[in-house]
Symmetry: C2
Subunit: 371 residues, 2 copies
């Protein structure tokens, strides 16, 4: 352990994330999150209880949330704080989903790191859909339908394109301008992306992703008629009690796989189903893939509410890359007094030669400790 930094906190900012993305590239970063998530889901103990996220309702129209998502691992505890404010892009020019991830040493309680969670959230949400689609969609799925073309749609299509032989995307948004700008935002993928009416999306897509900010009680966001018999749907937008995107009839005829069951029955599409009609969770599905492979020819749904396990994987990727690049900044956030039993004693100081704030070229591994 680097004693100079041992009692400080590694801050990974917007600029560090930009440095990581620029150095590593979108594709490699997404691939790392996908493979990390695949491994984490396969290793996940299905009996493990993870706290269900909880939160506040926020915003003038009370359609937003601010939530905390905790998860414990062997050496660390993670708490992601994530907000959903659908009016952010138009009213404030900032993303609908904002997030910050905090990591703590689970022996001392020390705050190890504070990391942007906006990019991590977008990456891991896409990665989860890609893994679900690999397990449940036809292997020759070439046409993707996207309903809702905001920020999350970009990483949905990107992630799917990494695991499936995607050629075409048919995209729909209630805001035609947002659908149109999606072509520019995904130009880097080199796919045939077309703005389409909803009925065409439903009729032609092998895989559909819904990531809308439909309000509580105002769904569903597709009709559910004319779908391909083998359609796989990643329902990504459900994240509020009462908010759902899919018609109940679609769920009733599909194998519905939640990311984390206790959360999905509270705020996912699974709100619409009795417990005995819910299929295996995504971790279970990946652990017993062969058993469910027959469903590739039948309708399936991945009910993606967002699972803290996914955030852990994404932040591990970010911190590993930060370490490799030497980006990030250590700050002494917690007041650690010279005498730990005297909160009024002077703060521990760094070695005299260290500047007060500095970028660190060799941040210590936060996630791969041997002890």
């Amino acid at each position: 352990m680097d004693t100079d930094n041992a009692l400080e906190t590694l801050i990974i900012t917007r600029d560090d994330i930009a440095e990581i993305v620029a150095a590593v590239g979108h594709d490699h970063l997404m691939d790392e999150v996908i493979s990390g998530l695949d491994a984490a889901f396969r290793a996940f103990d299905l009996r493990e209880k993870v706290p269900i996220r909880d939160g506040f309702v926020i915003g003038k129209r009370r359609q937003g949330t601010l939530e905390w998502m905790p998860i414990m691992s062997r050496h660390e505890a993670l708490i992601k704080m994530v907000s959903y404010s659908p009016e952010n892009p138009l009213d404030r020019g900032i993303p609908t989903i904002l997030a910050t991830i905090t990591l703590f040493d689970n022996q001392s309680g020390h705050l190890l790191a504070v990391c942007d969670g906006v990019v991590a959230t977008a990456l891991r949400t896409g990665a989860a859909s890609a893994l679900a689609s690999r397990a449940l969609a036809r292997p020759d799925s070439e046409t993707i339908g996207l309903i809702g073309c905001g920020a999350q749609a970009v990483t949905q299509l990107h992630a799917l394109s990494r695991l499936s032989p995607v050629k075409r995307a048919l995209v729909y948004d209630v805001d035609a301008k947002v659908a149109q700008s999606f072509l520019r935002r995904t130009a880097f993928l080199g796919l045939d992306v077309q703005v389409s009416p909803l009925d065409r999306v439903e009729a032609e897509a092998d895989i559909i992703c819904t990531q809308t900010s439909v309000a509580i009680g105002e769904g569903p966001v597709l009709t559910g008629t004319g779908l391909k018999p083998w359609v796989h749907i990643n329902a990504v937008g459900s994240d509020l009690v009462g908010k759902t995107e899919l018609p109940r009839a679609v769920l009733e005829r599909s194998l519905v796989c939640p990311d984390y069951l206790p959360q999905a029955i509270r705020e996912g599409e699974c709100q619409q189903l009795p417990p005995d009609r819910i299929g295996p969770s995504l971790p279970e599905l990946l652990q017993r893939a062969e058993e469910f492979s027959g469903w590739r020819e039948k309708p399936t749904v991945f009910d993606s509410t967002g699972f803290a396990l996914e955030d852990r994987v994404a932040v591990e990727v970010m911190l590993r890359q930060a370490r490799a690049l030497g980006c990030g900044t250590f700050l002494p956030v917690e007041y650690l007094a010279e005498d730990p039993q005297d909160p009024y004693s002077r703060p521990r100081t760094r070695a005299r030669s260290a500047p007060r704030i500095r970028p660190v070229r060799q941040p210590r591994s936060l996630t791969e400790r041997s002890s």
Copy 2:
């Protein structure tokens, strides 16, 4: 709003806290927290539901916790993350209680500030006991008994000395060295502080504070015999399901006032009482002080589990002082992309002249916005 900093996060570090304490002084800082807390408790709507804190058990011996404590106010949401690791001082040379406070804008979800919570926690826990003691102890209380002489004991005695005519403190700790060092740690108070056997503490104190790290099931930490008939006890150490510090018989003959009832019945001394034997909460007590003034001559207990409302007051004091002193550092923590609907677009940048990381002399008010 300072547009340059509007989408960044104010970080208040260990060094900033030290600067605030040095500039303002312990007494003034404590007085500000006490008066802020008094006002906040009087204004608190007793019907308001605050999420009960939840958390993980941590540590090798599983006697620690890492918890999250959320509370919403008019403009902001606060989440404190706080850990309790009783082996920290001896094993690691750091405080038992570590904490970090995060503040969010409750319209956009933006992370406004990350602030050390170690000092804020110590201050507000002392302040709460001082207010409870003013309401429930005899006004001429001159002798304070302290059981458990760690970091929290310092701010308990300090806070009590600001509101009561304290002359003497009798202090006891299972670790004699810790009791002895308490004299040095509280020398700044100019009081007659004596290490004492437990029975003398119990027999002579007008006000007793218990802030121990007794393990689950290993209490009580005092016998409850020979206490003064008007003794007021601040039971500060209970913060775990199963952990209690006081004998049930003491609780049964006292007016027991929790800080926040739903939490106290889960992890405070109130665990030991049936609901109909629990008195008014501290906010209720302060709102209806006259009604309970007769209890000053009778035994009373303040069941202090730690309430997020107290943290809000303490962080408001810290941020106000940081603003006045111009300390703190703005960092762009969240990845806010130029195009909010494209997580892969470049990050928003600052004005060209702004350095990447800098101390800010005029941080914007985070807690006193007019809008």
